[in-house]
């Protein structure tokens, strides 16, 4: 019967959530926004390509003065430049729109800024003046070096392949950090997208005055557990909806979007790190969900619940603000405090796990702590729901709940 009721609650909660237009509006808003941004990027790239082609074909001319003697006249001429000895007149010509641009190269361009004057072509297109002024300098310098290889070296344009070792093994580097870090992203995404639903999930029984009928038909633990499981399922469905446009964009519009070709073989998948990441994400989500559900059970309105919830959200964000400290000194007091304090533990531990600074023992302690505390908070949430949901218009204090529990124990034989 318990299993039957749990299934019934999960099925009811999932179906009615997925059946709501509001849910799909909120869920699809993110991928639609991503889609619009992608479309704008594609459109922007196409327009930029066209502009580039047009610009390449169009005539661009400038004048310049050279106090440094570094400028090679042939390079400047090839790019549309013409030397002048009358900078004031040249600037006046630019001001009058008769000349595209005028560059003033100082005696030492490495320490003194090169002055660039140009006809205003808009915020983005104005950048080409600086680009061309720089190109004239670079190409002139390359010409003076003579050897193309030396010229590339001088530019620092050299590929480097780095290999680092940890405990005698080759370290994964950035490619090893990204996979476990995905759990942190999923954790944040799911929590913030489902937060409102978590808060209102138990409030609904209270607001609709169905609590008493529910409590006499269904074990409150089954109800709360069913609601939490359904939140997991709904969260999973939402994650799929979000991933879909990303996959479509990557598979079908990779070249148009100028997306890099992701070679999965370049990532390092450490099974232990991934398992710890997944456990931390699930444990953290369970803890925050049961806590949020408990808040919803004792507060009379969504507004009241929201005020308490914002405190919870702050606890989640604090480790991100302290990330430099956590990364640089993982064994320091701040990192340790955030690692073991339950409501900052999921984010801190997931971050450290991805960076490889979370030891096996630490991971075991934090994962155990999160799951045990989730179970405890779930029990408290059930108790709060039992008492709080009958108080249709009042907030119930923990003192009231535990005082009642104590009185009961005192009277029991």
């Amino acid at each position: 019967m318990k299993q039957h009721n749990l299934r019934t609650v999960v099925s009811f909660e999932v179906r009615r959530t997925l059946g709501k237009k509001r849910f799909w509006f909120m869920t699809l808003m993110v991928p639609i926004a991503i889609g619009i941004v992608l479309a704008l990027v594609v459109l922007g790239n196409i327009v930029a390509d066209n502009n580039f082609d047009n610009q390449s074909e169009s005539e661009f001319s400038f004048t310049y003065t050279d106090a440094s003697s570094f400028i090679d006249p042939s390079v400047a001429t090839a790019l549309g430049g013409m030397v002048t000895t009358e900078p004031a007149k040249a600037i006046a010509a630019v001001r009058a729109g008769k000349q595209d641009a005028h560059f003033v190269y100082p005696a030492d361009p490495t320490t003194t800024p090169t002055e660039v004057y140009g006809v205003d072509k808009g915020l983005f297109e104005n950048g080409k003046y600086s680009d061309i002024a720089t190109q004239v300098l670079i190409r002139s310098a390359q010409d003076q070096i003579g050897d193309p290889a030396l010229a590339r070296l001088a530019q620092g344009n050299v590929p480097i392949s780095a290999t680092t070792f940890t405990e005698g093994k080759e370290a994964a580097g950035l490619m090893g950090i990204i996979p476990p870090l995905i759990f942190l992203v999923i954790f944040f995404l799911m929590f913030f997208l489902l937060a409102n639903q978590m808060l209102t999930s138990t409030m609904e029984e209270k607001e609709n005055r169905v609590t008493e009928m529910i409590l006499t038909t269904l074990n409150p633990t089954a109800l709360i557990t069913g609601k939490i499981i359904s939140l997991f399922i709904v969260g999973f469905a939402q994650a799929l909806v979000f991933l879909l446009p990303v996959l479509v964009g990557y598979v079908f519009f990779r070249s148009t979007l100028s997306l890099p070709n992701i070679d999965l073989s370049s990532f390092t998948f450490d099974p232990a790190q991934l398992i710890v990441g997944a456990l931390l994400a699930v444990g953290g989500f369970a803890l925050f969900t049961s806590t949020t559900v408990a808040i919803g059970a004792v507060t009379p309105t969504a507004k009241d619940a929201g005020n308490i919830f914002s405190g919870l959200a702050v606890l989640m964000f604090i480790p991100l603000y302290a990330a430099p400290l956590i990364i640089s000194d993982p064994q320091g007091p701040v990192a340790q405090l955030f690692t073991y304090f339950p409501y900052s533990a999921p984010v801190t531990a997931m971050l450290r796990n991805a960076l490889g600074s979370l030891t096996g023992w630490e991971a075991a302690i934090v994962v155990t702590e999160l799951f045990l505390l989730s179970a405890l908070v779930l029990r408290i949430a059930v108790r709060l729901f039992q008492t709080g949901s009958i108080q249709y218009n009042n907030r119930v204090s923990l003192k009231t709940i535990f005082a009642r529990s104590k009185a009961l124990k005192a009277t029991q034989p």
């Binding site: 019967m1 609904e204 609709n208 038909t217 529990s405």
Partner: protein
Amino acid sequence: MASSKEALVHIEHFKMEFAGVTVIEDLSFDVHRGETFGFLGSNGSGKTTTLRALLGIYKPNGGTLHIDGRAFTPQDGSRLGYLPEERGLYKKESVLTVMTYFGELKGLSKKVAADWSMNYLERVGLGDKGKTRVDKLSGGQQQKVQLGVTIMNDPELLILDEPTKGFDPVNRRLLMDIIEERKRAGSTVLMVTHQMEEVERLCDRIILLKDGRAEAYGTVPEVQNQFGGTMIKTHYSGEIPTSPHYEVTTRDRNYAELTLTDTADESDILRGLVNAGVLVRSFTPIKLSLDEIFVQVYGEQSQAVGA
């Protein structure tokens, strides 16, 4: 249907406090299997609290509250039909979805719950509302749906907290019919009400709750006897003798009203008058109505009489 004497609901020395304030001091009563039991009391006298404690929603501060020999748990919900004082349904869902959900929670299969719901909706004139959202129904229509949810599992025990509260006359009659139907089907009914005509029509036994204690408890005639007992109106010739069993409260030529001061039988009173040489032309025992008893017990405390 006559009730057996076996107690389906047993409450003994029930005590309940909220924040140090005693709501129920020491309450004991039984509801027999198959009977319809009226739970009466003024507003705030602790009736709803007692029901909630009986159903495990509140934890009592003392005493025993049993249904069928043990404390109620939600696992027993499949045998219970409970219409709480605070009513509601999932307002954003369709009528059929809500009814089927509660049916499933009460142990019915989805199909049985859906079929029963459709039949019920047809019966109460809501056959076309199955797919309508609950909040699109009128208040009266929502009450009918709520009633359906309460009885859909063919409950052995029906607990109704002010069942006719807010019902229009049509729905009230429907509810009365359904209670009688359930009674005929053998259900035990425990109902809280302020409607004395409902009590007189339906209840086999009643309890009157005042200040956290039972003020009166028994069958309706027993309670009537308990409160001022019986008054006798008589037309006579002769001299009415004095008696320890009655007091002459009104005397007007050949008419008198005798108020019984103990539980003496009315036929004994009549025999006593005749034996004293009184020529009794008419002899009509009049009992206090429950309404009058209610007013007598609660006086100004009650705001709900006749509501």
